[in-house]
């Protein structure tokens, strides 16, 4: 037995000596064009990561965003790339499973400069520490201001709390609610819902609104009894931080019960597929606030992206994820150009370039973005849109980019830390 142990130990040592995986070699060095480069950047290529949900509950929106990213990459490469390098995307599907994402991350990490898309709040939570340790600038497909506590998170657009504040100001401006009214807020417990609620609470405090909070989970698909309850409490408006299916249910109940109050939703509450659902006829009271435009909005850049989407023959029905995905990638382009100018295309360089970016332009696909204040949303401007089955993408906007006074004064949870 002892001989056996000795033998195995010896062989293990021999094995270990001849071919261990060895030390990492991610030291940065001087690359082409006098630019310092690091992980994910070669003399001819810049690789950006996409961790998306192609098979789970958020596959519609994620697919739109991915296609938007891809369209931009095609465009920028046709125009000569960024910093004389072609941009490449490394795309993986995690199916909205945090465990799969957690194992896939170390495989992606040595290949990419940053993440242009990372879908899912459980995934973002599980990877938060890794991203910070690796200095990985990341754009999550989530707009919660709680995420801004991580300095490497770059949120393209405004956050759910600010959306709610802007949206409520819009309702008040249009005379749909007034100070002292009762307002119901249905929200999914979690990062998304809690952040929307934070904004609603702030606005309610400023304007003496009586806020009726109803917490649900993302799998509650029939909200009839909740809307009935809100009707009994005499609400003047219903706020939603929910899934599109739940939005449909709330809108249908609003109509069927004869309540007919305006419904205000955060940007993920609407999906064009709602126009094919039984709730299609009940969507006229829905107002959606978002800092990115709906698909095929009436501005030149959005039309251009919509046209490209059609030409690319993607099979998925388009949604607001497409222009958003395009805009995010474009912001990344701006940041990378800046890093290139600074002569530092390493991860640290990208992070620095991000903090120096004070007005990223996307041709109005998203409001102009200012990343110079850590912890604060990059913009507080939103569009207000309403469902319209007759236009492509299913939404038309009713108010152009604006920033409410209350949103200006609002302090996000990690602002100024």
């Amino acid at each position: 037995m002892r001989r056996l142990i000795a033998l195995t130990c010896a062989s293990a040592l021999v094995l270990a000596a001849c071919g261990t995986k060895g030390g990492g070699s991610d030291e940065s060095g001087e690359g082409a064009g006098g630019v310092t480069t690091g992980v994910g950047v070669t003399d001819s290529e810049i690789t950006l990561g996409v961790m998306t949900d192609q098979t789970g509950p958020f596959k519609n929106l994620s697919t739109g965003i991915t296609h938007g990213n891809e369209l931009w990459v095609e465009d920028v490469n046709a125009a000569g790339g960024v910093c004389d390098r072609q941009v490449k995307l490394e795309i993986v599907d995690h199916g909205y499973k945090a465990d799969t994402a957690k194992t896939l991350y170390p495989q992606m990490e040595p290949k990419v400069l940053g993440f242009v898309q990372l879908v899912g709040s459980p995934i973002m939570a599980a990877l938060g520490g890794d991203l910070e340790a690796d200095e990985m600038t990341t754009t999550p497909a989530s707009w919660s201001s709680e995420l801004l506590g991580n300095p490497y998170v770059m949120i393209v657009g405004t956050t759910y709390d600010v959306e709610m504040i802007d949206g409520l100001s819009y309702l008040q401006e249009e005379g749909m609610i007034s100070d002292g009214d009762t307002v119901g807020h249905i929200y999914i417990d979690g990062e998304y819902g809690a952040n929307g609620l934070r904004g609603a609470r702030y606005y309610a405090e400023q304007h003496d609104l009586k806020l009726r909070e109803v917490k649900i989970t993302s799998s509650d698909n029939d909200l009839t009894n909740i809307v009935t309850g809100l009707k009994g409490q005499g609400v003047k408006a219903i706020l939603l931080t929910t899934t599109p299916t739940q939005t449909g249910s709330a809108a249908a109940a609003n109509k069927a019960l004869g309540l007919n109050v305006p419904i205000l939703g955060n940007n993920p509450t609407f999906d064009p597929l709602l126009h094919d659902s039984p709730a299609a006829g009940a969507l006229d009271q829905l107002y959606v606030v978002a800092s990115s435009v709906p698909f095929s909005a009436d501005i030149p850049k959005a039309q251009e992206v919509a046209q490209k989407y059609k030409d690319a023959n993607f099979t998925a029905p388009p949604n607001a994820g497409v222009p958003y995905g395009y805009a995010v990638a474009e912001v990344w382009g701006t940041v990378l150009e800046k890093a290139c100018e600074n002569g530092d295309l390493t991860r640290a360089g990208v992070h620095q370039a991000l903090e120096e970016t004070t007005s990223a332009e996307t041709g109005d696909l998203v409001a102009a973005l200012d990343f110079s204040q850590p912890g604060a949303p990059a913009t507080r401007e939103v569009y207000v849109a309403q469902p319209d089955a007759s236009v492509e993408g299913g939404m038309k906007y009713v108010k152009q980019l604006f920033e409410a006074e209350d949103a200006k004064n609002y302090k996000a949870p990690h602002e100024g830390q």
């Binding site: 195995t8 995986k21 795309i91 465990d99 459980p122 709680e146 917490k215 989970t217 993302s218 799998s219």
Partner: protein, 385 residues
Amino acid sequence: MSEIATESPPTAPESPPSPVRRRGPMWWVRGALWLALLVLLLVLPLYLEAQWLRAGQYMMVGAVGAIGLTLLTGQAGQLSLAHAFFLLAGGTSYTVLSGSTEGGTLVGFGLDPLLSLVGAVVITALLGLAFAPVAGRLRGIYLGVASLALVFLGLYFGQAAETLTGGTSTGRSPTPFSLFGFEFSNEGDLEILNVPFRQAERLWYLFLALTAIAFLLARGAVRSRVGRSWRAVRDNEPAAAVMGVSVPRAKAGAFAVSSAYAGLAGVMTVLWFDILKPDESEFGTYGINVSIAFLAMVIIGGLGSVPGALVGALVVNGLPQVLALYSTDLGWFTGTGEGTFTPVLISSFVYGAAIILVVLFEPGGLAAIGRRIAGRLSFTQRGKE
């Protein structure tokens, strides 16, 4: 459950039932194989990249939980769907016991991580014991449904007890595990044979040790008086009582032990994810899907078999991860858009098919196949003698 269990006795006698314990050649072969496996597992971090280590650690998390469930369901005959709840309880206990009081919004005791780990296991065992009166009265599918209630309780608790869990919105970071000042995190520079030992490598050894302890304790329990009393209660309660086994005690004990295992798996889950984040819906890290995954592990592995539970965890927790890693390595299934096949989708098909195939063709699970192979080997061996 019990039909399956009685058809194929879950624990075949491991050594020949001769009164004089002679160590035959098979014993040596078996020992050498186990030793080789251990050595292999010990040197793996020197060769495998971090992603493979993480996948391996996730399998070990599954293995510890599955061993607990196979003791309860396979050995003691109690169907439980509450495993995910005990996972959450264990993870939360560890985080609270070892955590600090941040900004007055969170409760934390700042205990030593090792003490917290033991504390978490004890707390979940007590929680399991508290559920024992229910477990003692119900059996079969009724117990399964009753235990399912705990998962929903866990969902509510995770969301409501924000001072403990950190809430669903942000979650709460657990204190990294450390043993006598050695941190199982990226802290400090440690290199062995030119391999930088960072969190992935360090956690590998921690998890390996925990899994080995869990495995040995379970084997010991199964082979001893405790295991015999569990099996007696499972097969026939009156007969067990006649033989002097206290039925309620055996049942409660099995539930507590199984919960303790799940609690340990919960601590490992939290350490693996680097975060304790309660679920936003019934499906998540501590949801029904996890309870069912554990059940799948013990069924694929063979009800009641401890090594089987290890293999079951390998299939259920490992397959999706390994498939995803491999296909990304090879550049397979990288399409985007509607109706594309991705590794995640394929692995759920494989996993479903594995359960159906096992239940249809080998209700005893992989353990039964293993036993048959081992039996044939030792038969030829004996023939030679």
